[in-house]
Symmetry: C2
Subunit: 206 residues, 2 copies
DNA sequence: GTAAATGATATAGTTTAATATATCATATAC
DNA sequence: GTATATGATATATTAAACTATATCATTTAC
């Protein structure tokens, strides 16, 4: 097969970054100047993309293409892990709802020059993706999403964004208090089974 | 300006790694499976190379292609700088002589399955590239080089390698003692304790 | 000086990424 | 249910990487 396993590792990182940012392939296509059809091929590992395409996509996704010495790879990985969404420790339903929220936020900020609360909210959701949320918090997320959907359709004002923001903030605080040692013990595995996507799982002792 | 400035940054890193390892474009071509003419174009920034080519070249040069979050780039850079030859603090003549030495060593280990002193010597030279050597040490380097040239042509035995190794080691110790504050950013680590458990650079499969 | 190695370049041919559109099935939102 | 958004896929065209080979001017080694 022509497609290197190493290329897939990179394209999967691209895809994860795109989804984590709530961008559709078409939205990414517009910003990066790369056709959606081509992004589809890239993410499915069907092409051996050129460096300019990789850089164009990475730039939009706040990523940088770097050449790191093999000897320094472990150290770099530990840094990257601490600043990226990394694995998904939450329930699949929760993960999906968070992505949906992120996506809705992106759609709103695309329509109107949203207030600064919007950016704050996006950051909050991004942080929540690092924690492990139980299904008991799904209702709160869905509620926030429905309100934002209404805002997006101009059926609600921007003051509702503020309300959602405070709600999410209190949720985050509760979660952070409850389990602030989530990232510390990576050995703890959730009850539900993450059957796939277990590719990046090198736990190292500092 | 058809080639992105970002691509050049990467290709220049490739070239620096190749020279630092004492590999010619043809030697790199053989190991990576990329024609020498293409490597020339890549290094001169004349092509928008594909990811597979980049990965193939990087692998031979002990480099890894990574996507790092823009936010984590400074931290990653500081790590990379501390493990790579980085800038050249020495005289151009000294830098060139060190490269020549590295190249000769590579040529020898290509001809014969050199003894382990050869790998040690390569590491020593690699470390010397981190220090600032004055021109007063040029003679010692040239002498080492001439001896190794003779070894390469089977006009001298492998026991001479050992002699060169001890000479270089004493040179290194002298340099390390003399100026252990060679660069401001690497002042944290004392120059004497040059750890030898570092990864061996030459891992060729016959 | 002679010989070998180096890097750069040129040419011609093959492969393939990239683009531009369009279509399709399937989720999701109203 | 209707409409919209999503991702995957198809086709045709263009641009360019990649390959193979050869040449050339410099530099370096003996």
């Amino acid at each position: 097969m022509k497609t290197h396993y190493k290329i897939e590792e990179i394209t999967k990182t691209l895809q994860a970054a795109r989804v984590s940012k709530g961008l559709s392939q078409r939205a990414l296509s517009q910003r990066a100047g790369v056709p959606q059809a081509h992004i589809s091929k890239i993410e499915s590992g069907a092409v051996d993309l050129r460096l300019s395409s990789l850089i164009a996509l990475a730039r939009v996704l706040d990523l940088e293409v770097a050449l790191v010495p093999r000897k320094a790879v472990p150290a770099v990985q530990s840094i990257v892990r601490s600043s990226e969404p990394a694995a998904s420790p939450s329930t699949p339903a929760v993960v999906k709802e968070l992505q949906r929220l992120q996506h809705t936020l992106g759609a709103i900020s695309e329509l109107t020059n949203g207030p600064k609360e919007l950016a704050q909210l996006q950051r909050q959701i991004r942080e929540l993706q690092h924690f492990r949320l139980a299904d008991e918090h799904l209702a709160a997320l869905k509620d926030a999403n429905s309100v934002l959907q209404a805002v997006k359709n101009h059926k609600k004002g921007t003051e509702d964004i503020r309300r959602v923001l405070t709600n999410v903030q209190t949720l985050r605080n509760a979660i952070a208090h409850q389990t602030n040692s989530v990232s510390a013990n990576t050995a703890a595995r959730p009850a539900y089974t993450l059957d796939d996507e277990a590719s990046n799982g090198s736990s190292q002792r500092p």
